[in-house]
Symmetry: C2
Subunit: 473 residues, 2 copies
């Protein structure tokens, strides 16, 4: 949690950005989320937009800002004696509100009345898309839209939510302040610690889950936990593989994509790909080297004014040139890029924004967050999944995470449908069906004149660095 002044300044800036708008901005914090039943909840996590503007890290809070008068109200209930037995003496709502510079508080039940009153008077109520079902229902009961209409409709965002409010929030959260950068650096240091523990845990014969437990224990000991469900798999070609029952086998590639959330709720996100036995085969090394070069190239191009979409395309071009040298594709590199051939090998984007959320602001609508108004999102496999395409600004925090995967089902599909015919060497690709996948990811801050990798000392990244580190583990 930052200082009182930080939250006051952010809300003042928001008000300034919305100075032409009428009505009320409504912010709804999270409630606890049931895991098994309503009294056995998942670990508490506050809504990120709430954290950004109101900071209070407690459930069942809401707030309004009157865009015309500037009046701010926090709506929440104080605790009674039953709560005190179960949860201990708690600060009053009034004192929590004062801690973030809000003078006026009202009981939670007053919020519906306040919103109804505004609606009756014909005043617009600006709100952000819901990120959880409970909040969708809460907004639904106040605003009269069906709950399912209140989520982001995927990439396009949520048509019911307030576009001016969403755009203002995105503009602000896209550029991280120095105190946010310090918080992300700290989350990255913790994420790197997780990864080091994981790397040292790789030994043939162990079950993957043992390593997951060790690395997640580190994040819980020093932070809030993982910033997303850990990916740790010998099948890197499966992107979101959350099953960890496999025994570590010789000759495989172990992809570990994991990050920490700090106690301040900032995220980190790193990926490394290790040879399970400590040494890459020559085929693994060839592919790894390409991924490494793409990653380094992307980092070298990352600077203010450059569109991250172009960085993605430059990495894709380099990947195709180098895969051509291995005989897996052939043709003019620019034509292959235009035809979207890179998507067969890297069906995801080069990176995404990162901050309070690991995919920062994904609840607000991917295109509004990651695309400049004059950019149109591609529908190609790979480029179409790029979450951050914008022209970079100092203070942006993005991930740089190229990868190469051999996904038999996808390759067979392209072959059957004729996609990539004349450019993709489908026969040669057969030899790679048991390869798996490789990804390499660091978190990057855009600076005034370039970029800086976030966190402490960089995790081993090149094939030699990885093998050297594993030799000494």
């Amino acid at each position: 949690m930052f200082s009182r002044e930080t939250y006051i300044t952010r809300r003042r800036e928001l008000l300034r950005k919305l100075s032409g708008e009428k009505g009320i901005a409504l912010f709804v914090g999270n409630a606890d989320s049931p895991a098994q039943y309503r009294d056995n909840c998942y670990k508490w996590r506050q809504d990120s937009n709430w954290l950004y503007f109101f900071g209070i890290d407690e459930p069942q809070f809401a707030a309004t800002i009157d865009l015309e008068s500037g009046e701010e109200i926090i709506f929440a209930d104080d605790f009674g004696i039953d709560d005190i037995i179960w949860m201990g003496p708690m600060p009053s709502v009034q004192s929590l509100a004062e801690g973030v510079g809000v003078a006026k508080t009202e009981p939670a039940a007053k919020l519906s009345w306040y919103i109804s009153d505004a609606l009756i008077k014909g005043r617009p109520v600006h709100f952000l898309p819901a990120s959880r079902y409970y909040n969708a229902q809460r907004l639904s009961s106040m605003l009269g839209f069906a709950p399912e209409e209140l989520f982001s409709a995927g990439k396009a965002g949520c048509p019911r939510a307030s576009l001016p409010l969403v755009k203002a929030v995105v503009e602000m959260r896209l550029v991280k302040s120095p105190e946010e950068i310090a918080a992300i650096d700290a989350a990255c240091v913790l994420g790197q610690k997780m990864h080091t523990v994981a790397r040292k845990g790789i030994r043939l014969g162990r079950v993957e889950q043992e390593i997951v437990g060790e690395m997640e224990g580190v994040t819980l000991a020093e932070g809030w936990g993982v910033s997303f469900a850990t990916i740790l798999t010998q099948h890197g070609e499966i992107f979101h593989c959350h099953s960890h029952e496999a025994v570590i086998e010789p000759g495989r590639l172990m992809v570990i994509d994991a990050g920490a959330e700090s106690n301040e709720h900032y995220a980190s996100d790193f990926t490394r790909t290790y040879p399970t036995g400590g040494k890459y085969t020559s085929r693994q090394r060839d592919i790894y080297q390409i991924v490494y070069e793409c990653h380094e190239l992307a980092f070298s191009l990352t600077k203010p004014g450059v569109a991250y979409r172009d960085v993605h395309l430059a990495a894709a071009r380099h990947m195709l040139v180098r895969l051509g040298e291995l005989g897996l594709v052939h043709g003019d590199p620019d034509e292959m890029v235009a035809a979207g051939i890179a998507g067969l090998f890297m069906p995801h984007g080069l990176g995404h924004n990162m901050g309070l959320d690991v995919h920062d602001m994904e609840d607000l609508g991917e295109n509004l967050v990651g695309y400049d108004p004059d950019q149109t999102r591609s529908t190609q496999l790979g480029l179409g999944s790029l979450r951050m395409a914008r022209r970079l600004q100092p203070g942006n925090v993005v991930t740089d995470e190229p990868g190469i995967y051999f996904i038999p089902d996808l390759i067979e599909l392209w072959k059957k449908e004729g996609t990539g015919t004349g450019m993709v060497n489908f026969d040669k690709l057969k030899e790679y069906y048991d390869f798996g996948g490789i990804r390499l990811e660091d978190d990057v801050l855009v600076t005034d004149d370039g970029a800086r990798r976030l966190g402490g000392e960089r995790l081993p990244a090149s094939p030699d660095e990885i093998e050297d580190a594993m030799k000494n583990d």
Copy 2:
């Protein structure tokens, strides 16, 4: 996951119990639950009732059983190529259904149609209370009740849900089968391992969170994670204290109430209270000894035919007798028990059912789960919080968790309101305002002729055992 036969037998037994009923029983499995936004979810956890009858540990499944014809249908969608890229090759819905003995499957979208069709024909649709907001909304859209009406209304249960179905499920899940007992024993062994790691981590000057991370890492390495949010606090008088920022101070009592969920989704739940410096003060030892005696007394009384309510009351009586010897209360023990004086020191119940859920079946309504039809739940502080009051049967799994706490706000409230006047020595209690609290908990199986503590070797429990263990850590 158990054998195909297990799930077939359970559903057959359910059908038998509901043989007088008409219509359809509807079961809705869980969907992923968003943490930050819809694509960044909390760790997957299936609904326990779904697990019990249908076993399939994947999101977005539902099923129906026709109570008249016996026809069973599983509703879910197979994966497309997009899913395969992100999640890898997945077994078909048909093969998952066959794995639990269900022959017929339909696409997910067919479920609404199927339920509407039944409702139009005037056939009753039996369903269980929702345990999550998403499922409440799903049921709401099919059945026409408001989502908030579809949860258990606290102790009383959910008036919209089917009472015959709830009762039949409770009867079945209350009595654990040998394979379930083996699964709970395994979860208890893991829970004990967590606690041993935690105990060895207690050192003055460390931050509590470091120990939480270490112990939770163990559960993630070998199991599904924690069975509930870990309580680890030097303020045991605060029951659900989930903040772990405190530094470990000398002279305090550290309450650790934590359990593991095994990969098979069975829970364990243990509590131990340690002297932070390794040795209890004589005042701490006096109170600990009383808690220990209450715990042992309760265990000795646990056997078939005895109401767990009476075990609670016997422990409460013993507690008051012994607190009387310390001069903290005075009067006839039976009169003090009747007046609910024990609730001032132990404002919670002696224990609860445990199985797939740590508070087993809490989503089905506490009173329906924990009270025999002829038992009325007390409104007294303490006894009123007792979740398991039933006459015990072989195969019941319950926790035995007495505790003594000194809660200044609560003591002051009783004093002010005159509760316990003439029985409670409020002056003497002032000396205990900085004491904290002590709780001791093991998990217990009711056997044919008594009870057995679940798990492996018992964790140190008596004051001497605890001090000896800490000496050797």
